[in-house]
């Protein structure tokens, strides 16, 4: 643990079931679900008609009319979450050199919802191949390049340091935070406003997941549609949301008397080099990412008190990561609680990794492990302790959170208390 260490000093979550960290934690700790029949558009042509939607009013969250107009919904989430995280940290960035504060934003699909809407207009409902630029909105370029999200966040918080979107499919959230951690550790930044966002609930996204039968068709009981590790699960529930964090170098956070939620003690990402959407059942590459993240954190597997799983609720994922936990944690995989909050807030693609880091952080704050909702009859091949149905009081000082994404990305992050001892 030599060198610069990175801690979380502020966070904010926008997730289905209620905007804000407090509403998010109530949902998780009460084991409620926020999945429902799609209301954003007519879902009747689709195989999967359920999603985890946020009731979000940009005005009520301080976005100006101009900000709302020029930003895709995912960008709006990011700005609101980043501002919230900064407020939560109590940090006054104006007192710091602006180029020492950076921004990273994870997103898997960027402004796909805005692009879907604008495409419909310029193509006149798909009729024109030579789409008509005279109907293009002035901010279409912001949708074209999702880096506009990172620009908006930097403007919102006044950051002039390194700034980027990190886009690695469904591990974007973990990898965005991981990228930010590396910048602070190497000395390129002292503070990072880092998080992730996605708002993919649009016809084009529903259609492409329909085509690969990745999302669940269980629309007769939408509130029970997301059921990771259950024997009856048959796909994930698409979600949306954002979580942002203020990350600081440990010593400077201590000097200013900041509230320290957790240290980001270890991070690694590996690729399965196998298939864009498929997973090898042995989980070897995720296991390797976990092993390296633990090693970086200087923690033995037995020190992990809670595993926040990817737990998307597809059969191949649930088995893949169960195998990865056994391979990397050994017998401790059976002893530690493992749960998937996607059972409650759905799968918000690139955002969910950051939202899960927030859940992991709050589990440490409250010493409560969120449950896997809707888990009644586990898949026999998934034989770990998945904390079914109800949250559990549990001493939680170190958490492992993982993600798995299209493209073959497998990422792992370890959160711990900074005052821990090694090994």
């Amino acid at each position: 643990m030599s060198g610069r260490r990175v801690v979380i000093t502020g966070l904010e979550v926008l997730a289905p079931g209620g905007v804000g960290t407090e509403a998010f934690w109530s949902l998780l700790s009460e084991g409620r679900t926020a999945t429902r029949g799609i209301t954003f558009f007519d879902p009747s042509p689709f195989r999967s008609r359920v999603a985890a939607e946020i009731d979000f009013d940009p005005d009520a969250h301080g976005l100006s009319p101009q900000e709302s107009r020029r930003m895709d919904r995912a960008g709006q989430f990011a700005v609101v979450a980043a501002r919230g995280a900064l407020a939560d940290s109590g940090l006054d960035l104006s007192g710091l050199p602006p180029h020492r504060t950076g921004v990273t934003v994870g997103t898997a699909v960027g402004a796909t919802t805005g692009l879907d809407e604008e495409y419909r207009v310029v193509s006149d409902g798909g009729r024109l191949n030579l789409v008509d630029h005279t109907y293009a909105v002035p901010h279409l370029y912001n949708h074209f390049v999702p880096s506009s999200f990172a620009a908006e966040v930097a403007w919102a918080v006044g950051a002039e340091g390194a700034n980027a979107v990190v886009s690695t499919g469904c591990t974007s959230g973990i990898d965005s935070i991981g990228y930010a951690v590396e910048l602070i550790r190497e000395g390129s930044a002292d503070t990072m406003v880092a998080g992730a966002t996605d708002a993919p609930i649009s016809p084009i996204t529903m259609a492409c997941f329909d085509a690969i039968r990745a999302t669940t068709p269980r629309h007769d009981e939408p509130e029970r549609a997301s059921r990771p590790f259950d024997g009856t699960r048959n796909g994930f529930v698409l979600g949306e949301g954002s979580a942002f964090f203020v990350l600081e170098e440990l010593e400077s956070a201590r000097r200013r008397g900041a509230r320290i939620y957790a240290e980001i003690a270890g991070y690694a990402t590996r690729s399965n080099a196998y298939h864009m959407t498929g997973l090898r059942p042995d989980g070897a590459e995720m296991a390797e990412a976990i092993r390296v993240a633990l090693d970086e954190a200087q923690l033995a597997p037995e020190r992990i008190d809670y595993v926040n799983a990817h737990g998307s609720g597809t059969k191949q994922n649930d088995r893949h990561e169960t195998a990865a936990f056994k391979k990397s944690l050994g017998s401790h995989a059976y002893a530690t609680p493992v749960s998937s909050i996607k059972s409650m807030v759905g799968h918000s693609l690139g955002a969910i990794g950051a939202i899960e880091i927030a859940a992991s952080t709050l589990a440490m704050t409250h010493h409560v492990v969120p449950p896997t909702a809707n888990l009644h009859e586990p898949d026999p091949e998934c034989d770990l302790d998945y904390v079914p149905l109800t949250a559990r009081e549990h001493t939680t000082d170190a958490v492992l959170t993982v993600g798995s994404g299209f493209g073959g990305f497998q990422s792992a992050m370890v959160l711990a208390r900074p005052e821990r001892t090694a090994a």
């Binding site: 030579l130 390194a162 980027a164």
Partner: protein, 404 residues
């Protein structure tokens, strides 16, 4: 932690040349690849010129099984990665899988694939959308497909920061090499020259609307009125220097320094931050401004942006103290591919001792730059600075140095 990181292979896909050899043969003599768009009829659009790659037949290079699931930018990236590995003399199947990673950038993803699927969705119905739409257009697809093709299981990633992304990806790849991964494929390719991508690009407010390829993209010229977009880029092989030397690899040069900043919000009254990025990159490389032999500029060809870039350069180097060039006047601005291609060009320039020209430009005195125009300039290139900026305020600066 501070292991030296070198480039050992180049894979170039550019409008004025496919492959590093063809590209350099064109670029060193100022041969442009900009012309009227041919992929579709651009008559109805404000901008009609582009840097298109002609004569690229992906099926000659890639397995047939990959064709239905790949956008043009991915095909170009896969071929560029193949060429870069071949150039580096690396056979990935013979190396430990976890010792190789892939970090690329993409500004806008596979837009052409996306347009086709959106068209199917809205004109025919959701059941007509391809299964491959779940990944073929997204920003991570090039890193994913390259890692799969070559069995690379090490740390991979994708950085998106508009035109700054090509350099940012190389910097992130360098971090991974320093953290212990011996080899990382990095760089970027973008290719959004479809009608839907074209219309999105029109709204940047930065595109040239001229019809004469020789007058359309004129950075640092009094006639500057926007840039011409293009497609392509470069992928490069990064390795830890001691390991590359140990295997007897040809070493093009080192990735010596990097700095990135973001401009303050417009209207804040604070100064732009490109100069700071340059200072950070020079400090990271441990070189003085006087050591820099050439600058590959961003060259937006938008007067305010040209002014900001010239001011930053003159503040660091002094007016007319360092040769500056913009070879992208021959390719168009390649979005994330731009910084990566400029980096590859730097190494080709080092190899020959020749700075390629900025074509068609008559430098305006007011910028105070020693712009290499008209003819290439023969000069030893040992240290080069590459600049790339992304819309919104992204500034990235990278210092490359020769390794002998």
């Amino acid at each position: 932690m501070t292991a030296s990181v070198v480039v050992t292979g180049l894979g170039v896909v550019a409008p004025n040349g496919l492959g590093a050899d063809d590209y350099w043969a064109a670029t060193r003599v100022g041969k442009s690849g900009i012309g009227r768009l041919s992929r579709f009829d651009p008559s109805q659009y404000p901008s009609r010129l582009a840097g298109e790659i002609h004569g690229f037949r992906a099926e000659e290079f890639l397995p047939n099984r990959l064709m239905p699931q790949t956008d043009r930018m991915t095909r170009l990236a896969l071929v560029a990665a193949d060429w870069a590995l071949e150039d580096a003399g690396v056979r990935p199947q013979e190396l430990p899988a976890f010792d190789m990673g892939v970090v690329t950038s993409s500004a806008s993803g596979g837009f052409e694939f996306g347009q086709r699927e959106l068209e199917r969705l809205w004109s025919q119905g959701s059941e007509y959308v391809s299964a491959y739409q779940s990944f073929a257009w997204f920003y991570a697809v090039n890193s994913g497909q390259i890692s799969i093709r070559h069995g690379m299981k090490g740390p991979s990633g994708v950085v998106v920061s508009d035109q700054a992304g090509g350099l940012d990806s190389v910097a992130q790849a360098r971090r991974q090499v320093r953290k212990g991964t011996p080899l990382v494929v990095s760089g970027a390719v973008d290719a959004s020259l479809c009608p839907w991508g074209w219309v999105a690009q029109q709204t940047s407010g930065r595109l040239s609307t001229g019809d004469d390829p020789a007058r359309a993209y004129l950075p640092f010229d009094a006639r500057a009125a926007g840039h011409v977009p293009g497609e392509g880029g470069a992928l490069v092989i990064l390795e830890r220097e001691d390991l590359a030397r140990a295997r007897g690899a040809k070493v093009y040069g080192r990735i010596a320094g990097y700095g990135a900043t973001f401009d303050p919000k417009p209207g804040s009254g604070r100064p732009p931050a490109l100069g700071k990025a340059i200072e950070l990159a020079l400090a990271d490389a441990g070189v003085d401004a006087a050591d820099v032999d050439v600058v590959f500029a961003d060259g937006a060809a938008v007067p305010d942006l040209d002014r900001a870039e010239a001011d930053a350069l003159n503040e660091v180097f002094g007016a007319r103290r360092v040769p500056v060039t913009v070879p992208k006047t021959m390719t168009g601005a390649l979005y994330s591919g731009a910084g990566a291609l400029d980096l590859a060009t730097v190494f080709l320039a080092m190899e020959e001792g020749l700075v390629p020209p900025t074509v068609n430009v008559e430098p305006a005195d007011e910028y105070g730059l020693d712009l290499v125009v008209g003819q290439p300039r023969t000069t030893e290139v040992r240290t080069a600075l590459v600049l790339a900026r992304g819309q919104g305020g992204f500034n990235s600066a990278l210092v490359a140095r020769s390794a002998d």
